[in-house]
């Protein structure tokens, strides 16, 4: 009771928003990026918008007073949740429009609110001061890189939808971008864990420790190997890229689910001194559930 306890208030629905929102915005941004490299990608804007909308829908299911949900727009001044909601109002229609008008320019333009949305999601977690696993600065690059990686992954899974995209992906810089994202996410994960190493409840660290092997193997090593293989074996580019995409996306989802559902221990309680009782002497404090005293 004194030590950090696991948050139970945001469940799979909230995690779903970070998963869908990250993947959806990542998909838009990656689609825009790859469109600049000659891939035909406006079609993904529909899926991306659906992702973002689904994520917000899940949140709507979780809030206590869904009929008042419009109040979410009342605090753009300081709340990243308001900002996330506001930018979604721009992002989703623009995404839909991009799909229907098949405009690359619009797609690139849509990547801007998408990036902002993704950033807002990172900041939502960052501002949650009660949960050490979220409030670290390192959550920002973590959420950003994984969102982009998931988006890239989603695009790769569905890259077969458009003829010629896979060839363009491997012929140009697309696969380098994908490799870089996987790499950067790996670095962000390392950085995230490092930032918490002496700075989070023991239980949080245990969860992240357990998740580490999955994330490193499936989210880092495997996609890199698969992408290199794709570059090497032209005949199998499509399945290899899709499989790599699968690992990129699902590892991102796994990672966020771990951070939001399992590693999210509250700060807990702590005292810096025990009192002097009457004529007695004061004593040391205690921060239960933390490996090192802060």
């Amino acid at each position: 009771m004194l030590g950090p306890t696991l948050q139970k208030r945001w469940d799979w629905r909230a995690a779903g928003n970070f998963i869908c929102g990250g993947t959806g915005t990542g998909l838009i941004i990656m689609a825009a990026t790859l469109s600049a490299m000659g891939l035909v990608t406006t079609v993904y804007a529909l899926l991306a918008s659906a992702f973002v909308a689904a994520g917000l829908g899940l949140v709507w299911l979780e809030i206590g007073r869904p009929l008042r949900s419009m109040n979410v727009f009342r605090n753009p001044r300081t709340s990243w949740m308001t900002r996330e909601g506001m930018v979604a109002l721009l992002l989703i229609p623009m995404g839909l429009l991009t799909f229907f008008v098949e405009s690359n320019s619009l797609l690139i333009l849509t990547a801007l609110p998408a990036a902002f949305f993704l950033f807002a999601q990172a900041r939502i977690l960052h501002m949650a001061k009660g949960i050490p696993a979220w409030r670290t600065h390192a959550i920002n690059p973590m959420i950003l890189t994984t969102g982009l990686t998931e988006g890239m992954g989603a695009l790769l899974i569905l890259t077969g939808l458009i003829t010629g995209n896979i060839e363009a992906f491997f012929a140009g810089y697309g696969w380098i971008v994908a490799l870089s994202l996987v790499f950067l996410r790996g670095v962000a994960w390392l950085n995230y864990r490092y930032s918490l190493s002496n700075n989070a409840p023991e239980e949080t660290l245990k969860v992240l420790e357990r998740a580490n092997i999955v994330i490193v193997l499936l989210g880092f090593v495997t996609p890199i190997v698969l992408l290199f293989m794709g570059k090497q074996y032209a005949a199998y580019q499509l399945p290899l890229a899709a499989t790599a995409g699968l690992f990129m996306t699902f590892t991102g989802w796994f990672l966020k689910y771990q951070i939001i559902i399992y590693a999210a221990y509250y700060q807990g309680f702590a005292i810096t001194h025990t009192p002097a009782r009457g004529a007695g002497k004061p004593g040391p404090g205690l921060k239960p559930g933390w490996r090192l005293p802060q």
Partner: protein
Amino acid sequence: MTQESPTGKTKIPTYCYQCVAGPDLLNVRVEDGIATEVQPNFGAADCTPAGGKVCVKAFGLIQKVYNPHRILTPMKRTNPKKGRDEDPKFVPISWDEALDTIADKVKQIQSEGKIDSAGYPRVAASFGGGGTSTYYMGTFPAFLSTLTPIDMGFGSGQGVKCYHSEHLYGELWHRAFIVAPDTPKCDYIISFGMNIEASGGVCGVRRHADARDRGVKRVQIEPHLSQSGAASAEWVPIKPKTDPAFMYALIHVLLHEQRDRLDKVFLRDRTGSPYLVAPNGFYLRDPETKKPLVYDLKSKQAVPFDTADIEPALEGQFVLSGIELGADDDQWEHHNIKVSTAFEKLIEHMKPFTPLWASRVCDVDNKVIRRIALEYLDHAKVGETIEVDGRTMPLRPVAVTLGKTVNNGWGGYHCCWARTMLAVLVGALEVPGGTIGTTVRINRPASDRNDSVKLSEDGFLAYPMNPTDKENWLATPDVRNANRTLVPLVGNSAWSQALGPTHLAWMQQDKGPDHWPQATKPDLWFVYRTNPAVSFWDTEQITSTIATFPFTVCFAYTRDETNHMADILLPDRTDLEGLQLIRVGGTKFIEQFWDHQGFALRQPVTEPQGDTRDFTWISTELAKRCNVLDKYNKALNRGAAGVALKTDKYDFSLDVDQEHDVETIWDANCKAASAEITDGKEQQGLDYYKEKGYRLTDFPRIKWYLTAKMEDEGVRYELPYQETLKRVGVQLGRRLHEKGISWWDEQLEEYESLPDMMDFQALWEGALERNFGVDISDYPFWLVTSRSMQYAWGGNVSIQMIREVSKNIGTHGGLVMNTGRAHKLGLKDGDRVEITSPLSATRGILVTREGIRPDTLMLMGQFDHWATPFAKDFDVPSMNSLVPMLLDLTDSSGSGADLARVKIKKIGEVK
């Protein structure tokens, strides 16, 4: 002033007296007739010692009213078979049927004879909560008084769970049924397991918090770190039941290392220290006056203790002549024999008990023991004075307090004696800052202990000992626990039966001892606010015994383990629904020291639930139906409801032939109460009390201390030497032996003039090995208990909110064990364990804590319910099922201690 206070428009004043640390005044906020909130009564902030506040237990009262598990109509049992596994099949009945059934039983008993073949009363009654049930039972005592004799000796924890030795010896030595520090002035308190923060109520908590703020040093000596240990300047983890050794070592240091610094004037003038002790252990007396002699240093001769203008010698041996009066008619004449002063005897007696010796017994560093003795002496400020109410009195800001298990059972006598001696040696008994008493329950009058100060022939406080001489000893017990027969100290007040030995009443139901009447069952047993099937020891045995009682009437709030065996359940109105006036203020239990005294009203704050009835209505109806209405009304007029309705100053007496309604009865009591405290000048009635809640007058602070009265009356404390007890013990032994009874011989050994040290741990171990044929080393842990602030006395186990908030205190969850020890045994916090004593086994969750000795386990409170709604789902064990009731573990005062030896076994993993 535009809006209504958010604290509510309607606030009804009442009191909380759920525990002996009360009463406390409070307000209940009421919205449209529904009680919604308990609040302090700040209107009474200046005239109550706790600032008009109430503790957490009072906040359970609202749920208590509306609890869906309440019994709301009278019920009768339809399954004639009784037992834990039998469904009583209670069915609702009308009040008429319930009351007529009881009245028929009463009338039958009255007509057949009130005493049964064994000489015991056929009606018995058990009330819980250290007497606090009286403050909720309206005029029921008046009804009971028409049925006397009644056996009140079936206890529910009295004697084994109270401060029993303190009650008896405290009253004997300084009119202190309860002993407390004069906390507001005290600077140094040695507390042997006294869990004042959990059991001291609002006054206790407040006074000690103020004292801590002032910088008091309290040293808490106990096997586990209780709430009070937490709030103390120092915690000394001592082996269970070795406190006497620690205290003896403290006395040793004072007597043998620091004698010059003691309060010799106090010892000489206010105690029996200078009395001369003759060779047979009784005082040397003047042959003519029979008065004890002292040696006068001025005239260089022995003179009666009360001779004017003398300077009695405190120490030394003298060759003198005189007579010695022993037990019964024993008398010795002495010529030129060597005699010592009582103080000299004490010095000699305490010589072996060095801190080094005690350190081995108690497992406490001898340097710590010596340091505490010296700190105590340093803080005593011997020689200093203070003015109280215009009178100069000694100021001795040091005190020693004793907790449960320390001050009952074997060793209780030693601890009480040593504690009182520690006060006496520095003159800190009954003086500002020192160790003082709060109330009397054996001596009379109960309303003011100062008035109970009477001079005995020997110059001490006279004490109403039960007679042990041949002519007057009560050879045949008149109640089943034989209190007056076996325990001279227990006296014969209204409280004496309940002071036990109450377990004797239960033990004998199974098999009585030799040469003793086989105890009969009461034909009619009334039970109110008590649950012996859970709160006594060997609960399985008690439960089966209760099941054999032929006709049990339980005033029932919810179903519980005792009323599971009842024949009739009567739902009375609870704390916030009933009407009653009680006496408050003065000095009462625990630390209730007031600067006021008077009366407070308990009144309905909300509509009563269901078909519950006011206790006074029930009592009047029973009186009417039993044809004792006139006697009942006369009892009321005499003051059975708390105030005499007629004195020479006023007359509010009730017509004895009439049936009076509840409000009329209490209106008369209110008027009489007002008249009593204003000397007949005022006579505010019920309406006034309903509005205001209380009526008080001043209580002079000088009355907190006996000193003024003792000095004025020239009375001495009978310390250190216990000549009276020694004589009583010899006489009692002779009486019992004359009847062929030898089973009380061990208890008789305790009647010592200076208590001899014993190995109390070995006493427990031996008794368990003998009675259960076990090897005690198979039971490696001492099991102790500890008070729960949220539950103690509250009868509130079925209140959800109390359960909820009590969980914030970590030790409520189950069996508390030292973390390191648990680790060594491969146990983890949260494991499910079985706890086995030589008597039986129980199960619960392991709670690991650092604040407990590795050889000790602790189970807080008294749970283990199996019938009480809500509580039966707690899954928290109680030590009560593990502790046997054994004669070997009963001391001479008839008390036992909450102590067991157990082993534990893991039976399940952390969930």
